[in-house]
């Protein structure tokens, strides 16, 4: 065992312990229920927790993430049993359909998260400070190889990679869920998710609803982690900072997202939920226990978002290099500021709205229960007050990546830098004023519809400025198209389609037809792929050499692009078409009389083609870490500071500070650099 490759050791542990966990769950289920149920939810939960934890135990030993997960399991059980005990004393049933009762699961979920945080060791330094002890500024890592990513580190580059890889894993999980329900939709009638299907205590249609809802929220969390990954890795480098302003808070922001992801996934095993990611009551007030795990998971993931936004803002304000005035910051920094402003101020509202439903379920508080004088539509206002600006949280960093990469690959300054920078803030501001356009058919006061139509259409103005500025940047450039540039260009086209299909949803009367149909599904997948997924891939191909000293394979990168882009365009345009015909959102089955079976089959095929292209990317990504072509210099001939030093980036970033002496994107002027390193007595290389 000792000499085994740690990865395979982890896989072996995963297999053995999942089976053991399944057995334990089965045993507990029999104890409580008195009958054997192989497809029941309890064995699933235990197999998930045990297997997941054991994998990290095999890879990493009992420290870092392994200890966090073990503590989370134990903490959940202790919290759950505590509530069960109280219920027993009060004469209430102590155990329920899913082993614990709902209050037990909620309280246990919360104590599990707190236990994880203590167990993983991310609050160790704060505890020591509270006890009056000193801690070193930099901690020695237990491992110096790839396994360092499994433990707590306060290095923004390590945290950036942790965020990014976690985001990629969640994209894989969310994508897998999409493939499952997309396959069911390939033909009308129910094929494999039928009424007779039983898995995790859910029948086929219920499982469809759970997977569809989790697809939405897991992708959203993965996007939030993905943008944090890029921002964490890149922003301090662009600023010339050694780290983020609050390195320990930064580590905390990442690690709190891990138990949140576990909670989200656990909802699949606890009866699931059938509300979609929006969780509208009264339906969400009636859904199984899984609903609560979903609410709690999102609530905790929100902390990650809020705290990391705070960190980014302070870092940008306080830690820029000498001479880097606001209008000389790299444009991606502006995008990060705009997105962080939204995340810092709006995330509370989704947490609040979900918390209110949790309390409605737990304590019978009738916030959204019409029978108790509550108002179901109030929830939608609270929910969308975050969840609309949230889409700008997702896309602004992506648009920043496009603006950052274009000048490098067209060898020309970014056209209208100030306008592009201010348009990010403009989008962030207007984004706060448009939430009720999700509610044009909701039954809210009718007079609200027209003002929200005006404000929504206003978003087109700053977004238009970005498009026109990009085209003007490309115009008369000397364009080359390696993989990162291909993805940046693909992002522009896909985001354009997302943008142009927006106004028909914004004008109320056309939206009365389009709302809650596949037209919307196609529209927002275009905005999210164009605004996040394509730029995310562009950023990964572009900054991969900076992190590893090697580049990803160009041929595989181009296969990835040329397979994914046409498949994706077909998928979303096809979705819009069937939506117009009468295909509603979030349905497990559709009327064969609509005559869209053929379309759906083609859409499913294109979804699988996208999945294959992403698999090519995954292979390329993990293969190139060790075996990619060496790329230690300024591979893309960029003017940006991080490319003026060798790759991979040294542990403490720049060994000499730099000052800003020019404009960031002055390509075409040979004499002027953007930054100049300040020579000091101990300076090594020039």
């Amino acid at each position: 065992m000792k000499n085994m490759n740690p990865f395979w050791r982890g896989m072996l542990a995963l297999l053995v312990f999942s089976l053991a966990g399944y057995g334990v769950g089965l045993g507990l289920d029999v104890l409580v229920d008195g009958k054997v149920n192989f497809s029941g939810p309890v064995p699933g939960v235990f197999a998930l927790f045990f297997g997941f934890t054991a994998f990290f135990l095999g890879v990493f030993g009992y420290r870092g993430i392994t200890r966090g997960l073990v503590w989370q399991v134990v903490g959940t059980l202790i919290g759950g049993l505590f509530v069960a005990l109280i219920r027993l004393v009060m004469g209430l049933p102590a155990f329920g359909d899913f082993f614990f009762t709902e209050p037990s699961w909620v309280f246990g979920g919360l104590t599990g998260v707190l236990s994880f945080i203590v167990g993983v060791g991310v609050v160790d330094d704060w505890i020591k400070w509270a006890r009056g002890l000193d801690t070193p500024e930099h901690h020695e890592e237990h491992y110096s190889d790839w396994r360092k990513y499994f433990g707590v580190s306060v290095d923004h580059k390590v945290i950036g990679v942790q965020y990014t890889v976690t985001a990629l894993l969640l994209i894989a999980v969310g994508g897998l869920f999409a493939l499952i329900f997309r396959t069911e939709l390939a033909a009308s009638k129910l094929q494999f998710l039928t009424d007779q299907t039983q898995l995790f205590g859910q029948n086929g249609p219920q499982l469809f609803n759970t997977l569809m809802s989790l697809h939405g929220m897991i992708m959203i969390v993965s996007i939030l982690l993905g943008i944090s990954g890029i921002i964490n890795y890149v922003v301090p480098l662009l600023l010339g900072a050694q780290d983020m302003a609050f390195p320990r808070l930064n580590a905390f922001s990442y690690w709190i997202a891990v138990p949140a992801a576990v909670l989200l996934l656990s909802s699949l095993f606890l009866g699931g939920f059938d509300t979609g990611w929006t969780g509208y009551p009264p339906l969400s007030a009636r859904a199984p226990v899984g609903m609560q795990m979903f609410f709690l998971g999102v609530f905790v993931a929100g902390w990650s978002s809020v705290l990391s936004a705070l960190n980014v803002l302070v870092t940008v304000v306080r830690m820029r290099s000498v001479g880097m005035t606001a209008m000389k910051m790299p444009i991606f920094v502006w995008a990060s500021v705009a997105t962080s402003l939204i995340a810092l101020t709006a995330t509370q509202f989704i947490g609040l709205s979900f918390q209110l439903v949790m309390f409605q379920r737990l304590f019978g508080m009738g916030f959204f229960d019409a029978a108790k004088g509550g108002n179901p539509i109030l929830f939608q206002h609270l929910f969308w007050f975050y969840s609309h600006p949230a889409v700008y949280v997702f896309v602004l960093p992506g648009l920043g990546v496009i603006s950052e990469l274009l000048p490098v690959f067209v060898r020309k300054p970014l056209f209208g830098y100030r306008w592009v920078a201010m348009s990010s803030l403009g989008i962030a501001l207007v984004g706060f004023l448009v939430w009720a356009h999700h509610m044009f058919t909701s039954g809210m006061n009718e007079y609200l519809r027209v003002p929200f139509m005006y404000s929504t259409l206003l978003v087109a103005v700053p977004t238009g400025v970005k498009f026109f500025s990009w085209v003007a940047t490309i115009w008369k450039g000397r364009i080359s198209t390696p993989t990162p540039m291909l993805f940046a260009l693909g992002a522009i086209v896909v985001f354009l389609l997302g943008g142009l299909t927006g106004p028909p949803n914004a004008t109320v009367s056309t939206d009365l037809h389009l709302h809650d149909t596949y037209f919307i599904v196609g529209h927002f997948h275009d905005t999210i792929f164009g605004g996040f997924v394509f730029p995310f891939f562009a950023a990964l191909y572009y900054w991969f050499p900076k992190a590893t000293g090697r580049r990803m394979n160009e041929t595989l990168g181009k296969i990835h692009f040329w397979l994914m882009t046409p498949s994706f365009l077909f998928l979303t345009l096809g979705m819009m078409y069937v939506g117009l015909i009468g295909m509603r959102r979030r349905i497990v089955d559709y009327d064969p009389a609509l005559l869209i079976d053929g379309w759906h089959l083609a859409l499913t095929v294109s979804a699988f083609l996208i999945a294959i292209s992403v698999l090519v990317f995954f292979y390329n990504f993990f293969y190139s870490i060790k075996n990619g072509e060496k790329a230690e210099g300024n591979l893309w001939h960029s003017r940006s500071p991080e490319w003026q030093v060798p790759s991979p980036m040294p542990v403490h970033n720049y060994d000499r500070p730099f000052e800003v002496v020019g404009e960031p994107y002055d390509y075409g002027l040979n004499d002027a650099g953007y930054v100049k390193f300040i020579e000091s007595a101990g300076g090594k290389h020039g």
Binding site: P282, L283, P376, M453, P503, L512
Partner: protein, 339 residues
Amino acid sequence: MGHFGIVGILVILMTVLTYFGLDAAGLAKQMHPVAASAQAASIDQLWHWEMMVISFLFSLIVVPMVYSLAVFRQKKGELKDGEHIEGNTQLEITWTVIPLFTVIAFAYFGAYSLGEVRRVDPDAFVVNVQARQFSWTFEYPEYGVVSTELHLPVGRQVVLKMESADVIHSFWVPEFRVKQDVVPGRVTEYRITPTKEGSYKVRCAELCGVSHAYMENKVIVDSQAQYEAWVAEQVKLAAEAQTPEGQGKLLATKNACVGCHSADGTAMTGPTWFNLYGSQVSLADGSTVTADEAFLTESIRDPNASIVATFASPSVMPPYPQLTDEEIANIIAYIKTLK
């Protein structure tokens, strides 16, 4: 001709091509599917303008991008810088101000179009709509008629006063183009003037639970004469329904029992009522019971008390505490007639 001239011509060409491409797919001048209401006309008109502008904007961005990629490409192995152009304030102001006025214009047209859609006809008649998991019922207060099919006369405006018994639903007939949520605790209004005779479906557009996909009822737009004949027949049926069986049938429709339980043996979300009374029913737990008064009453009061084999567990059927003992007896009397 300079680069600008060529691109200008290409943009116009591409705009025309995109527009006619959309038109060829039947998407430029109207939305899908076929329009069947007066309200659809002004909605489709707005859509048409939007498609024209979208064709233009799509071309305006994509054409210069693709042109640049083709013409200003870096040759292999070359690493030259492009022209040093930092920006142009007048241009930026232009492409801020023109879109600003365009979107304001569209918001104005949108508001105007919404006004047309919501235009009130004083002669409109009322149908009360009851939505529940997972079906619709329609009550015609003028005639005392209750139906699971919505019949409407062509050319006359109807106001649907909609209520939900449980969660949020949404009333959508794609051919009518208009959608309105149905929210517990309030009455929402849906106003439509059918213009085209035919058989359509109302499809619930707001996720409402496990059988949401099947929450579809027939909507039939009749000629005035057909409509009057249908109403007369329904009134006659209602008059006949003074017997317990008749009352039971009415209750089964009104409470949407028939949305899930067929009267003729057709497989639906719930067990059929055909030949149900007195039969031996296999339950999910392996036991068998006789479908007598006691069993049927219990199943209506508490659908989870016993689950029939092969049906969803836990039951998707809501309990019906609002039904009186007499009403349940009437429903069972109706079930007895289904042989």
